[in-house]
Symmetry: C2
Amino acid sequence: MTQPIAQALSARLRDMILAGEFQAGQHLREVQLAQLFGASRTPVRLALAANEKDGLLEYSPNRGYVVRPFAGEDIAAAFEMRAQIEGLAARKAAERGLSPEAARRIAETIDTDARVLSGDAPLDDGAREAWRANNAVFHKTIIEAADNRFIGPALQTVQRIPGVYPPVLASYDPVLLRKYNGHHRRIGECILARQGTRAEFLMREHVFEAGEDILTSLHPAHGPAQDLAGAAE
Amino acid sequence: MTQPIAQALSARLRDMILAGEFQAGQHLREVQLAQLFGASRTPVRLALAANEKDGLLEYSPNRGYVVRPFAGEDIAAAFEMRAQIEGLAARKAAERGLSPEAARRIAETIDTDARVLSGDAPLDDGAREAWRANNAVFHKTIIEAADNRFIGPALQTVQRIPGVYPPVLASYDPVLLRKYNGHHRRIGECILARQGTRAEFLMREHVFEAGEDILTSLHPAHGPAQDLAGAAE
DNA sequence: ATCGGTCAGGTTGTATGCAATCTCATTATC
DNA sequence: GATAATGAGATTGCATACAACCTGACCGAT
């Protein structure tokens, strides 16, 4: 990453941006951030550059950094990329095969989620956190099994989008989560059966649907059709 | 990007790394680079951080930056990602449709390439440069037509790989280029016909084959099979 | 002889000063 | 009255000084 203090500042700044603590287009001044963080301009400058590279800020020479705006189409575009890249990960994981340990971890997340979601009551905080953690492990295990150095970083830049930040979002609808649990189960089965093509497209559709659901929850008025779906083929 | 001088240094450093002017694993010292570039440590530090973000350097706190090694599997992994992402671009371009201007540009690159490659003689420098430029326009036009903010940057990080740098490579084999020209023609036809699925997979295969050809030219001994193809499905 | 400690040199990390550039309000000109 | 020029304040860009840390050699103890 970057340097000790600069590294921490970069992460703090990133989280602030993702949490929506700045307005889109806002000019982030170095001295202002330095005072806020209790540091000098040097590490702040590095943190700004790092977040610009991550696509969260825009830079103009001699003018500094402004917060990059994210519209609905940008969120849809990010999920399109996620679907495509995680589809690759699922296919490669199926082609290469899972280690016994990876297979065990994936099965465990699926079974645990099914158990957590078995009741009809809305999820309490513990259940939500359990689901969030299991979801992360499921996707992370497949990405690691794909064994492609470029997948992880590419996914990070497309997952860290203001407005889709898990702490902000938190639309833990049990109906949706049960649907996702079913997706996970089928994807896991395909990977174990070494069916790469099915795994790829089920994963693609899984991520795409999750994106649709999030866009729907963000714009309750109109459905996700005009945001995510392009022209018909 | 970054600051005036730092921006230039970042590009110079990147080109030096891509051109293979440093050994893999080499420790890049700030003062040394500063003297080489005739600047102070401040912009050099920004250039190092930028190239680390681009995946060309590795950073350890209080130890600085070392040149990241790239093995054959890394090149194969990069082409896998390129194939997947450019496949998305081709599909989206087909779904959204091309502007008349974009359609014209694509047709022109295909026809010009076909003319340049019509002879049997090996290509001279002008022909090579023409093909390189046309190839860039073809891919760039499709990527722009896909209209997804995340595609361009993701492709850059996966295209800028030491050892696959065009000036270094320069394996302009007319037989291969004619094959690629045929790929381009079919991909262009699919996009114009709004056949997104065919466009996606033809593009994926096009990039994949190009990767195979490059790996073959890099390791003439063994074929690309063990590098690019994973386990059978 | 081997292992651990200590210190000097070198490298990175941060702070700060100065120069260059931009912003924007005020003024001058048409 | 509208537009262009000007200048002060603010902000970024770069250089450099100092502090923190790491590396490796030397030395002493076991």
